[in-house]
């Protein structure tokens, strides 16, 4: 127990928690959107994230030829390199998500079978993806070259705002806002919401179910891929099994906020990020995951629909 760390560095811990929380928000969108339309836990989402982290690093290493000892770059070059990494991560994750849906879910859905069968087939896909990555990388971690010069943009009191942290928060918030607008304002978003309310009725209304579900997976994958890029930017490292812990945390975040609820995922992700960082500071990093789950159980005990499940039911995906 180390409470002095908390009182001493309260604001910097809070900032770190919010930053990791925003990454969770983007990953948990992948879980929560799929859950919204299919009522299924997309077990392969953690692997979709893993694919994104690799895509982003491989683009900067192979395409642009940066290595571990490369200097940081500046100006226009930096912008287009990072943009290429981001686009690669998002597209790869998005495409993987659509493929996962095709392989693991579509046939089973057409047969109208039990939910556990879909779960097992998703777990199977997830094993295939992570094992494939393990074999290709020979279980070695892959480091991301540091392209961005990580300087402190400004300080408020003792808290330094580093550039990558600012990018994470601003960019993730913007993406979340965009998805939220998309789901609530566009025609496709309306279709997604309709499917999540009732599959049968929306089919009767002329909605192409398969297309909407594919689109949902794609958007969820895009967000997970963006999270993967941001993760690389901050932590500069990936492994074939990176998805497991992050996926678990993101899923917990989605449940915390009320799964299937977009804005719930937003608050759930940030809450979880903050809890995690403070728990690590107080109890030590090894107990981080335990604290998270204890919090989750307590929340579910008193608010079984998640923290925000009831309050903003209307914005259910």
């Amino acid at each position: 127990m180390n409470f002095s760390a908390v009182t001493g560095q309260f604001w910097s811990l809070l900032l770190a928690g919010v930053a990791i929380g925003f990454i969770y928000v983007l990953i948990s969108l992948g879980y929560t959107m799929v859950y919204g339309v299919l009522r299924l836990i997309n077990f392969a989402n953690s692997e979709i994230f893993m694919v994104g982290t690799f895509a982003s690093i491989i683009v900067s290493r192979t395409f642009f030829g940066y290595g571990d000892s490369s200097d940081t770059i500046h100006g226009f070059k930096l912008y287009y390199t990072l943009a290429a990494c981001l686009v690669a991560a998002m597209l790869m994750s998005g495409v993987t998500a659509v493929l996962v849906e095709l392989v693991a879910y579509r046939r089973l859905r057409a047969k109208g079978t039990n939910r556990l069968a879909s779960l097992i087939s998703a777990i199977g896909t997830s094993i295939v993806l992570s094992e494939g990555a393990r074999i290709l990388t020979q279980s070695r971690p892959l480091a991301s070259p540091r392209l961005l010069n990580k300087f402190f943009v400004f300080n408020i009191g003792t808290v330094g705002f580093r550039i990558d942290i600012i990018i994470v928060i601003v960019f993730a918030a913007a993406l979340f806002f965009a998805v939220d607008r998309f789901v609530n304002k566009t025609l496709l978003g309306k279709a997604i919401r309709a499917v999540s309310m009732s599959e049968d009725t929306s089919r009767l209304m002329g909605i192409n179910l398969n297309r909407v579900i594919s689109a949902t997976f794609f958007i969820g994958g895009l967000m997970t891929g963006a999270a993967a890029f941001l993760y690389d930017l901050v932590f500069e490292n990936t492994r074939f099994n990176i998805g497991f812990n992050l996926g678990l945390a993101a899923f917990t975040a989605a449940v915390l906020g009320g799964i299937g609820n977009l804005r719930g995922a937003f608050f759930g992700g940030i809450t979880l990020g903050i809890i995690e960082v403070f728990a690590a500071a107080i109890f030590g990093a090894q107990w981080q995951a335990v604290t998270v789950f204890v919090v989750l159980v307590l929340v579910l005990l008193f608010k079984p629909n998640g923290l925000f499940g009831e309050a903003i039911q209307q914005s259910r995906v």
Partner: protein, 348 residues
């Protein structure tokens, strides 16, 4: 193809079985049990030496993973298959059983036979403690909470002093001999027979439960919880029963596992084990004892068998899961059709 699609081995088997009289049934049961008991000898002949897998002897594989997985899959089947509760942290109970055997076995004078009921009791107790707050929740939340519980047990085992931390505990004693039969690394047959006895007891227990009040309550809860509650089934109580009985079976498997391998470490109790056991249940056919046994046998033996493609072995395993689930979503041997028909519509 149409015939193949409608063909259900489970129903065919049940038809034959129900056509038999008592003496025929008894003979059949004894014959099957006899064959199973003789299984450890099957690898002794030169012609059957292909049964030995590349890294482990046939007899070793028969105890762990095959026998152990069948036992655990049957235990999990009570939770997932019978009462429809999705448990993603079943490995926790296995770990609790294994660690009670390791701690009590190395620090007290209790022998494994005395520890077995204690380990089962502890697993059961943790099942009740976990079940009381979480079994009120909807299915998907239960899944994530149980998953979390599995991780908590593993992380605690790594970080607590008395469980030996990441190095685990070595020197777990073998069970003392029973009726002159020894149990140690050179006498793996003994372990296999213990596991077989436990499997038979579990099968017997499940069959008794299924045709009586708890079984009917579980079936009602699985089909529709709300209706079951309206019909006066004490839903929470029966859910906790199912959860803790499943936990006790997992705990028993853990005790025997620890004593057989004489060593426990947190690495043995990862989330992957929970997934694998759940896969055994769903792959074989949820809710059907024989399907679960078949599924567990295949999924336990297959990865050992294909160790020669060692790097790609898990990959092939994952592919097999996807393909089989797509071809036969109800598992290899699904539950009885008549149970399925009544369940249709209600469970969707």
């Amino acid at each position: 193809m149409a015939i193949l699609k409608n063909f259900n081995l489970r129903d065919k088997g049940a038809e034959i079985w129900e056509g038999w009289n008592r003496s025929k049934r008894t003979t059949f049961v004894f014959a099957v049990v006899g064959v199973v008991i003789l299984l450890p000898f099957a690898g002794d002949f030169s012609i059957t030496s292909f049964l030995n897998t590349p890294t482990a002897s046939y007899q070793a594989v028969l105890v762990y993973p095959v026998g152990m997985y069948i036992l655990m899959a049957l235990g999990l089947n009570i939770v997932v298959g019978k009462s429809g509760l999705l448990d993603l942290g079943y490995v926790a109970f296995f770990a609790i059983g294994a660690y009670s055997a390791a701690i009590l076995g190395t620090r007290t004078n209790l022998n494994i036979w005395e520890i077995l009921p204690i380990g089962m009791g502890l697993a059961m107790l943790s099942g009740v403690l976990l079940g009381l707050p979480t079994l009120r929740l909807r299915g998907d939340y239960l899944a994530i909470v149980t998953l979390g519980f599995g991780e908590i047990v593993r992380i605690s085992a790594i970080n607590v002093q008395s469980t030996g931390g990441p190095n685990g505990i070595g020197g777990v004693p073998n069970p003392p001999a029973v009726l002159g039969m020894k149990f140690d690394i050179n006498n793996l047959k003994g372990f296999f027979w213990i596991v077989v006895v436990m499997i038979l007891l579990v099968i017997w227990m499940i069959r008794r439960f299924t045709s009586r009040r708890p079984g009917r309550a579980w079936e009602a809860i699985r089909q529709d919880e709300d209706v079951a509650m309206l019909m006066g089934v004490p839903v929470l109580r029966y859910k906790i029963w199912s959860f803790s009985i499943g936990a006790a079976v997992g705990g028993a498997a853990g005790v025997i596992f620890a004593s057989k391998s004489m060593f426990v470490a947190p690495d043995m109790f990862t989330f992957n084990v929970s997934v694998l056991i759940l896969s055994c249940v769903v792959f074989g056919g949820m809710g059907n004892i024989w399907g679960v046994i078949l599924g567990a046998t295949i999924l336990a033996y297959l990865p050992e068998r294909i160790r020669f493609i060692s790097t790609a072995r898990q990959l092939v395993f994952g592919l097999a899961l996807v393909i089989i689930m797509n071809v036969r979503p109800d598992g290899l041997l699904p539950r009885k059709k008549r149970e399925k028909i009544t369940a249709k519509g209600a469970t969707k």
